[in-house]
Symmetry: C2
Subunit: 189 residues, 2 copies
Amino acid sequence: MARAGVTTERLVRAGAELADEIGFDRVTPSELARRFDVKVASLYSHVKNAHDLRTRIALLALDELADRAAAALAGRAGREALVAFAGVYRDYAREHPGRFAAAQLRLDPETAAASAGVRHAQLMRTILRGYDLTGPDQTHAVRLLGSFFRGFVALEADGGFDHSPPASGASWTRLLDVLDSLLRDWPRP
Amino acid sequence: MARAGVTTERLVRAGAELADEIGFDRVTPSELARRFDVKVASLYSHVKNAHDLRTRIALLALDELADRAAAALAGRAGREALVAFAGVYRDYAREHPGRFAAAQLRLDPETAAASAGVRHAQLMRTILRGYDLTGPDQTHAVRLLGSFFRGFVALEADGGFDHSPPASGASWTRLLDVLDSLLRDWPRP
DNA sequence: TCCCCTTGCCTAAACCCTTTAGGAAGTTCT
DNA sequence: AGAACTTCCTAAAGGGTTTAGGCAAGGGGA
């Protein structure tokens, strides 16, 4: 009987595609098996279980995102870096809604520690090198940016900005300006 | 045969409790039926289907949140209002993680329009009455606050701030100060 | 080349969740 | 009490998840 050539690698990659097509929550071993024209049970040699599959997709997404962010930040600083990083983040969410949803899967602490989430934190600190922030306030600023990016993109994805002007893109651009200004002129405690 | 006294109301309320106990994604008709000591099929007289149940829980959470926010904002303005609103939001997420997750369920446009989400937007505008913001920048500011609140609380819930100091609470307090300062001194375009 | 061993995929089966159809028992109103 | 309605039930179909056990394809070694 001919082999379909399923591997963990290909499974995860296909799962990511599938997530972008039909939504991360509908990515199931069953659906994937259908796509590979293989019986469901066959997947369980490559992936521990459904949760394992979803976790691997999440890790893939985090990795891709960190790769793009790193590329975008190369050679930039300050405002330019901020805008570049933010653009990567938002574009990824729009191009790959399923992967982006996956990236927000809650990971258990050990998995999270080994994930690209750590790289993300590092990259954010890189952005701030262009501004004059030190000590705890640097961490606070990282958290402000991270929260804003994540919150904005999530709200946008949920259509939260659709039913009143201005368009979400206008807010995005303007708010990046505002944040740049805030970082340059960070209030003293 | 004795009746269990199931109603849509009690079902949704129990579903919300359940969400806080075991997570919103694990709230299922089956689990609820077990809690009410009733056969699963019996629920379908009170609730259209699983999705309907989840939507109702989401609407309940949005309503509760708006109620609390409205109460907290009464008689406050400016910085005080900002801190009060933010506190309500974060406390609710910590006290009721399942309900909070439910509140972020993606609703179809009609349902969303009829939800308390609209009240939320209104309340945020109330906060800004204490600051000197008009026109599009007022909307941008609302979106900044909404994105930050949502993003921060989500990241905090996912344990994103757990593995490096300072504690997330310190960032929260400090960042509210920073945002207050930003709103008072909003940069010109 | 032949054998063997690993590995990929299969069948079978158990279990749980969702949803619909149709029926019986309890409740309410007249 | 009888009619009408509501609540809850049984039965059954349809999927998704997961494990156990088996057959055969493909690669490595004698």
